[in-house]
Amino acid sequence: MSLRIAPFLPELLRSLFNKPVTVKYPFEKEAVPKDFRGTVVFDPAKCIGCNICVNDCPAEAIEIIRVSETEKKFKMLLHNDRCIHCAQCVDSCPTKTYRMDGEFEIAVLDRHQLKIEYK
């Protein structure tokens, strides 16, 4: 291949009249794919309290708390500030209690606000 003078110029000038590809992010949002790993969602009705998710979670972000002494009822405390969004809990759970939603704009200034309680 030989050297040419300004081989990039045609492409550059074409772009000048094309629409820019930049997404004006906070004003325009693109849809996330259907299997996006966003925030963990827990369904307390399905939980059997086996604690596999707690053991498998690489970030130790899940706490399963027994609500009543007599019934098999559980609530889940999600430390979303620690969550690494790997979705291992979704895979590990034998009763499909977990799923991931498409929410990704979860940044806040105080990490304690990120705690989510599902009951």
């Binding site: 291949m1 030989s2 050297l3 040419r4 003078i5 300004a6 081989p7 990039f8 492409e11 550059l12 590809v21 794919p33 299997d35 996006f36 790993r37 053991n55 498998d56 979670c57 690489p58 970030a59 690494i84 969004h85 790997c86 979705a87 291992q88 895979d91 590990s92 991931m100």
Partner: protein, 401 residues
């Protein structure tokens, strides 16, 4: 006039902290030395206290760019320890993600090369088109950077017919753009002038200094783990090992672009020959006592994980050798007798991932066998002690070496 300069640990050309100490003669580098250890994260130690499944996501976070290569390397090692045969379809999908990651990493590198050479438009365009492959990865894995696709015995997500079609459709665009960049990078005089003949590493030097990956292959040595020691389904895919004989940064760029084209063909082959069946098999939680050495051809070169198990659900030892570490000796050889202007390019040409390569070593006295370990509080006390005795009002502060 010779003078000594320290570049880094904070420098615009270095995206991660490393220090290059150089002896300069005007604009020419006469001697160079690398200092590491600014970003040690203790990942190997952390891995010993986590289960094999938790470590899947820890190994993934060794690197942000080649996250999948570390995870796959680890997964393959643990699968060998478990004596587990992964599902065929799972292996195909795993290989597919490997190649997609290589595409994204090499496109990223092309942009970085442009940026280091001051060719900002090239950087903008390659990164714009890199978004295409990032989107593909996002569709099939649910995330752009950490795909988390691997699990012991296969992969965690299947690819459906729609995704398969979508990827095959977008491959055409990627191929066309890559051809364009190959032509562009080889014909723009200012860019070629910056890359050609810079950072020479002869074939013999590359072998002697144990270079890996595109750095080695650009010196004309056709070594590639995918060919030499095939893992996953690489034994079944037709591909060639890309090499170049120019032994310089331009050669490394050419090798990477050739690998991109090979990767597109491989992705096409994998998607067209995707076998039916399950995409994962069930894996045990505990692992028999054993040890394994796992090799993987990451986009940057050969990646090595050593895993030792002791019968529990946690590894006893995980040792990671990232490809960048293997390329450091060659980098020093390349830097010598180069220009200051070439430092960022030569350094970028090995595609350094400094945090991945940071490991802790404990030095032992060769004669006495004694070693010294200091705790954080001891180090702080030492620093305070030293600060107390330093006169900061003195104006003529000498260089520290």
């Amino acid at each position: 006039m010779e003078f000594k300069v320290q570049l880094g640990p904070q420098h615009p050309a270095l995206h991660e902290p490393i220090s290059i100490r150089m002896t300069l003669d005007g604009e020419v580098i006469r001697d160079a030395d690398l200092r590491l250890g600014y970003n040690h994260r203790g990942i190997e130690k952390l891995a010993e206290s986590r289960t094999f499944i938790q470590n899947l996501y820890l190994t993934e976070r060794i690197c942000g760019i080649c996250s999948f290569s570390h995870q796959t390397c680890y997964t393959q090692g643990v699968e060998k320890l478990m004596e587990l045969v992964p599902a065929k379809r799972g292996l195909y999908i795993r290989t597919l993600v490997c190649e997609l990651e290589r595409v994204h990493s090499h496109l990223l590198w092309l942009g970085v090369a442009g940026q280091e050479a001051g060719f900002e438009s090239f950087f903008m365009y390659t990164w714009r088109d890199r978004e295409v492959v990032m989107d593909i990865l996002d569709w099939i894995s649910g995330n752009r950077v950490h795909y988390s696709m691997n699990t012991f015995g296969g992969v965690r997500r299947d690819i459906d017919e729609m995704q398969r079609k979508k990827i095959l459709d977008t491959l055409g665009l990627l191929k066309q753009r890559t051809d364009y960049y190959l032509n562009l990078a080889a014909s723009e005089p200012t860019f070629v002038g910056r890359l050609a003949g810079v950072g020479k590493l002869s074939r013999q030097q590359a072998i002697d200094l144990c270079a890996v990956g595109p750095t080695l292959r650009a010196s004309g040595v056709p070594m590639d783990v995918r060919k030499d020691d095939p893992y996953a389904v690489y034994a079944e895919i037709p591909f060639e090992v890309a090499t170049a004989d120019s032994c310089d940064v331009l050669g490394r760029a050419v090798v990477r672009v050739k690998e991109l084209i090979q990767s597109y063909n491989m992705i096409e082959f994998l998607l067209k020959n995707l076998p039916e069946g399950p995409f994962k098999v069930k894996a045990p939680r505990k692992v028999k006592p054993n040890e394994v050495y796992s090799r993987y051809e990451a986009p940057r070169g050969e990646n090595v994980h050593y895993i030792k198990s002791n019968g529990s659900d946690k590894p006893e030892r995980l040792k990671v050798r990232a490809p960048t570490l293997a390329n450091y000796p060659a980098t020093i050889a390349m830097l010598k007798n180069g220009f200051i202007a070439d430092i960022p390019l030569i350094f970028a040409a090995i595609d350094p991932c400094i945090c991945c390569a940071e490991r802790l070593v404990q030095l032992e006295d060769a004669r006495g066998g004694s070693s010294r370990v200091l705790s954080f509080s001891q180090l702080r006390a030492m620093a305070n002690e030293r600060a107390k005795n330093t006169d900061f009002t003195k104006r003529e502060i000498a260089w520290p070496f």
